[in-house]
């Protein structure tokens, strides 16, 4: 490159005028960048496909005969029972929080802050991308379920609602890793946020029905929001439209989402206040 090149670039200065983009365009811009990065980082989402498929098959192999032979469980389908668990395993903890930490550490987050972009879309745009990804992750797990014989008692609308509940749960949970990412800017801390997944995912009716849990475990499961999310999703598979169960699922998502997203927004405010 020569000075002539630079001069040409300089002479070609457009009459472009910088202006604020607007909230929606900022949101779309940030979300599109995040979505573009997803297929370029397969290591970020491949475990989320493998782990639920693995647990789905293993749990069926280990517990299907046992649970379906429990006296009084004549209509019980363990395949139907396990599919929501697999979906929850697929979508819980999926986020761009690690990428956000990388942006903070490399200084790219500063470059974004230097622009007139609104601050809220910097976080919400990532969550929009997460929402699209968790929906995409639900699909192969659903296909696996259909292959092994899972049936949807509520038809196509039930399938869509089933995916929506799973995706909304995934979105509600993202507040935790984002809060940790913004608070610490530490990839190790973000990775350890996965530990939150275990009490949520296992201290509940993820492997056997609630009524078959030991009493102490059942008591814990009753205050675990995932229990209600799982029951709501299961109601769409085998028991037809049970709006009470579905409503409880949405309520559980709303409560957890309110907590986790509040933490994320406070962390964002704290990160911006450091500046």
């Amino acid at each position: 490159m020569t000075t002539t090149d630079v001069t040409r670039a300089a002479e070609a200065r457009s009459n472009v005028q910088a202006r604020p983009s607007g909230f929606v365009r900022d949101l779309v811009t940030i979300a599109r960048r995040a979505l573009r990065a997803v297929p370029r980082e397969p290591e970020a989402f491949l475990p989320a496909l493998f782990i639920p498929a693995f647990f789905f098959i293993v749990n069926l192999g280990a517990l299907q005969d046992l649970t379906e032979s429990i006296p009084g469980a004549t209509d019980f389908s363990y395949k139907n029972f396990q599919l929501p668990t697999a979906i929850i395993f697929a979508v819980t903890g999926i986020s761009r929080a690690t990428a956000l930490v990388t942006d903070i550490q490399t200084g790219y987050f500063d470059r974004l802050l230097l622009s007139p972009v609104r601050r809220l879309p910097l976080l919400l745009g990532l969550m929009v991308s997460d929402f699209v990804l968790v929906i995409a992750l639900c699909i192969p797990v659903m296909i696996l379920g259909v292959i092994v014989g899972v049936s949807f008692g509520t038809g196509v609308l039930g399938i869509l609602l089933f995916i929506l509940i799973g995706a909304l749960w995934g979105l509600a949970f993202t507040g935790f890793p984002y809060a940790i990412a913004l608070k610490t800017a530490n990839p190790g801390a973000v990775a350890s946020s996965f530990l939150l997944f275990f009490p949520f995912a296992f201290l509940t009716s993820s492997t056997v029905p609630l009524e078959n849990l030991t009493p102490w475990m059942r008591n814990i499961a009753r205050v675990n929001p995932i229990t209600y999310v799982l029951e709501g999703m299961r109601s769409l598979l085998s028991d037809g439209w049970q709006w009470g169960e579905i409503g409880k699922a949405f309520l559980a998502i709303a409560i957890l989402g309110a907590i986790s997203q509040t933490l994320a927004m406070l962390a964002l405010r704290g990160r911006l206040a450091q500046n």
Binding site: M1, T2, T3, D5, V6, T7, R8, A9, A10, E11, A12, R13, S14, N15, V16, Q17, A18, R19, P20, S21, G22, R25, D26, T29, R33, R36, A37, R40, E41, D103, T106, G107, Y108, D110, R111, L112, L113, L114, S115, P116, V117, N275
Partner: protein
């Protein structure tokens, strides 16, 4: 009378108990290249971050393009461009994607952004524009970073150590770009550097910061002239004896012990060499090496701070 585009008054910034910027008063004029020179940790980047609205001042005031850096941050962001240290870019995006994203953040339509990319494509290798940035060399990243900061045609450009870590050829290229942007467009450029020759080469005026305080300011030639017309650099076996012998010479303005040699400031170097050698010989001082040169900004820095700028290689 030039319009002032940056004006700071007693600008300060602390991080906990550490006062990174103690008190900075700056006046930068429209259309100039202002070099902000200082060693690592002097407070250069902290000042820049306050001016580009990434950091709030702890005390004092600063205006950029007529807007206060706290109350008018949104207006400032629309009108300035900045390339920060380390060319912070997303490695898993292509050059074109980053530039389009940058355009979108500044409200440019897709066609406006693509037009700007065409106009700025000479700043980066055209064949590389669709490659991931992770495959770029350090020099290519710097130039892409510069292109990104120019996407919205800013009125003013901040460059924070734009050539640190670059090879000499890439450094020269960046210098050419900076000069062209200033001379062809009249873009005001605020440039921080720890390289003395960079400030000397590019800046119309230089501000020298040390330990969070401005210790000197002026045109590079004026600053250098302020410490004498020439410098005789002489290595001797006994510094104290040599200093005592030289201070009494009428041709000598000043004598200081540098880290590697004595620095003798004189108004006429050619005429002063003989008296200096004779005086040292007369005092029984052995001369190991003697060089006559014009003063550098490093000499200015030494004069102002009693220390030299150590630049990590």
């Amino acid at each position: 009378m030039h319009e002032l585009v940056i004006e700071t008054s007693d600008l300060q910034r602390s991080f906990g108990d550490v006062q990174a910027v103690k008190s900075v008063d700056l006046q930068v004029r429209a259309g100039e290249i202002y070099g902000f020179l200082g060693p690592n940790g002097a407070g250069k980047s902290t000042v820049v971050k306050m001016l580009i609205t990434l950091l709030r001042p702890t005390a004092g005031t600063a205006t950029v393009l007529g807007h206060d850096v706290v109350d008018g941050a949104a207006e400032i962001r629309l009108r300035i461009g900045a390339a920060l240290q380390d060319a912070s870019l997303d490695e898993k995006q292509s050059g074109r994607e980053i530039l389009r994203l940058q355009g979108a953040l500044y409200g440019l339509t897709r066609s406006e952004a693509d037009r700007r990319i065409d106009e700025l494509s000479s700043l980066i290798e055209v064949e590389a524009i669709d490659r991931w940035i992770g495959t770029y060399s350090g020099g290519m990243r710097r130039r892409l970073d510069l292109a990104a900061s120019l996407m919205h045609s800013p009125d003013m450009l901040f460059l924070d150590e734009p050539t640190t870590g670059l090879d000499p050829q890439s450094r020269l290229q960046v210098w050419e770009e900076v000069r062209a942007l200033n001379t062809e467009l009249g873009t005001t450029i605020f440039l921080t550097t720890q390289y003395l020759e960079e400030a000397d080469e590019l800046a119309d005026r230089v501000g020298i910061i040390n330990d969070g305080l401005i210790v000197g300011e002026g045109a590079p030639d004026d600053l250098k002239r302020s410490i004498g017309a020439d410098v005789i650099q002489v290595k001797v076996n006994d510094n104290d004896k040599a200093i005592a012998a030289l201070r009494s010479l009428p041709a000598v303005d000043k004598v200081e012990a540098g880290p590697r040699a004595l620095l003798v400031s004189v108004s006429n170097g050619a005429a002063a060499v003989s008296p200096v050698v004779i005086a040292l010989d007369g005092a029984g001082v052995n001369i190991g090496e003697l060089t006559l040169r014009t003063p550098t900004l490093d000499d200015v820095f030494l004069e102002l701070t009693g220390d030299r700028i150590e630049v990590p290689q």
